[in-house]
Symmetry: C2
Amino acid sequence: MARLPEYLRALHNLAETGHETVSSEGLANAAGVNSAKLRKDLSQLGSYGTRGVGYDVGLLIDQIEYVLGLTQRRAVALVGVGNLGHALAGYDGFASRGFRIAALFDADQERVGEEINDLVVLHIDELPRVAAEESIAIGVIATPAAAAQRVADQLVAVGVTSILNFAPCVLSVPDGVDVRKVDLAIELQILSFHEHRKASLTALPAAGGSALTALPGGLAVTESQEAIGT
Amino acid sequence: MARLPEYLRALHNLAETGHETVSSEGLANAAGVNSAKLRKDLSQLGSYGTRGVGYDVGLLIDQIEYVLGLTQRRAVALVGVGNLGHALAGYDGFASRGFRIAALFDADQERVGEEINDLVVLHIDELPRVAAEESIAIGVIATPAAAAQRVADQLVAVGVTSILNFAPCVLSVPDGVDVRKVDLAIELQILSFHEHRKASLTALPAAGGSALTALPGGLAVTESQEAIGT
DNA sequence: CGCGATTTGTGCACGTCTTCACAAGCGCCT
DNA sequence: AGGCGCTTGTGAAGACGTGCACAAATCGCG
Ligand SMILES: NC(=O)c1ccc[n+]([C@@H]2O[C@H](COP(=O)([O-])OP(=O)(O)OC[C@H]3O[C@@H](n4cnc5c(N)ncnc54)[C@H](O)[C@@H]3O)[C@@H](O)[C@H]2O)c1
Ligand SMILES: NC(=O)c1ccc[n+]([C@@H]2O[C@H](COP(=O)([O-])OP(=O)(O)OC[C@H]3O[C@@H](n4cnc5c(N)ncnc54)[C@H](O)[C@@H]3O)[C@@H](O)[C@H]2O)c1
């Protein structure tokens, strides 16, 4: 489930504040989900709660980390050390959440050799050599969209089967390779959409205005906390 | 629908490459979705295709931009000009997709006054004044998690009703305020989960090993292109 | 030792999303 | 003008996710 990481973060917070156990209600609150949903999710892991008490925080953390495959610190290769790549390379949130940035790559000779957080930027052509030395579990693409597909191909070629793509484009990859995309502009546009809806709703108390603003049935936007007003 | 922005991006690509019309199949391909799904989504906007021909690219772009509320260039306020904030502030993908970064804020006096892309970083206390001068549609939070809730409250206080949160924490906001979250580590953990699953599947051809790795029914992870192997 | 308070695990029903499949509509070519 | 191929729009079926509500289980306390 995609909610497991969220639970994990909430659990770590709870552990730091000294909680030994937590009820489904409490954890659900901290993670921003329904308690029934959380219990159902957790029961999929093999049921590790005690009725009348709740869940053992430490045990649950171990459980989830195991299921997520975080027992081994996975190596991440970052390709494209530009504007965004720099921020990612300098981010300490990776290390604390089970990942290790193993290598930085770029195609620009100007960038190659630059040092960020004790890591030297390598030329993208070095990718096969580095991949041979240490097993790269995940590739992160932070290049312009035009180069993303090519980089993806290169990553796949050296055996990477999980890709996180920041470039605004769809990647085509062979079966067995998993790619997730993060697109800033899309997030903003979804917010804009809600803004537009909220605006037209308040402007027109009831009866629909344009057939476009007053969409039938209310368009649902998945994920994220939401709190559309009255 | 959350897929509209994806369609929009694909349509812009098509427009740039000279296409005047596009079939649902073609657009669905470019956006990485099922063609029936795409047609159903588009029919919600009021049906603008011609049978036997397809959709008019330009018209469809206008349609979607209108529904997403992109006819007006929305003002974005970015709070937290650190590692990530710098990258966001310097990103030109905002402007080209219907947004305008209107102001940068930070609490650190060291940062205040710094200039990024013709924009001067202001102290967070200036937020009410700036918000009064120009209507801020969306607030982006790129501060540490510890400060995120406080910043969210400040944004809400000046009338911001849409928030994009990069800090790894859940925000509580009043009804009517919409918040979306982007969490890097969660994306990586989901990929790690799939890696773990793939690894244990290949290791154990059939009969289940640990009750934890071989989860019943296959856990689904929503969103993103996926291509889980055999 | 038993009882009540508390919390988990889950059956069930409901609404939503997805996909297939096909009739209806449109344009082009003859 | 008519037919043919292509494409849209949508009905229906199925899969899926969600949330309620409650029985079963456990602990603490008298
Ligand atoms: N900057 C942001 O805040 C931001 C936000 C969201 C999405 N993005 C997306 O992330 C991507 C990168 O953005 P950016 O602002 O860092 O751009 P950038 O131009 O600053 O950086 C791109 C880097 O990729 C390198 N590169 C180009 N082709 C390459 C190749 N074939 N192999 C390896 N490296 C290559 C370039 O040398 C450059 O260093 C873009 O697709 C952008 O749309 C950026
Ligand atoms: N750097 C990344 O690549 C990255 C990736 C994903 C998520 N994040 C998250 O984004 C957030 C920012 O990351 P970062 O690396 O830029 O951190 P950072 O420490 O470099 O920057 C944080 C900035 O926020 C400012 N700030 C702190 N409190 C503030 C307040 N109350 N009001 C206004 N500004 C305030 C600080 O002065 C600092 O400039 C963090 O929550 C981090 O977990 C970062």
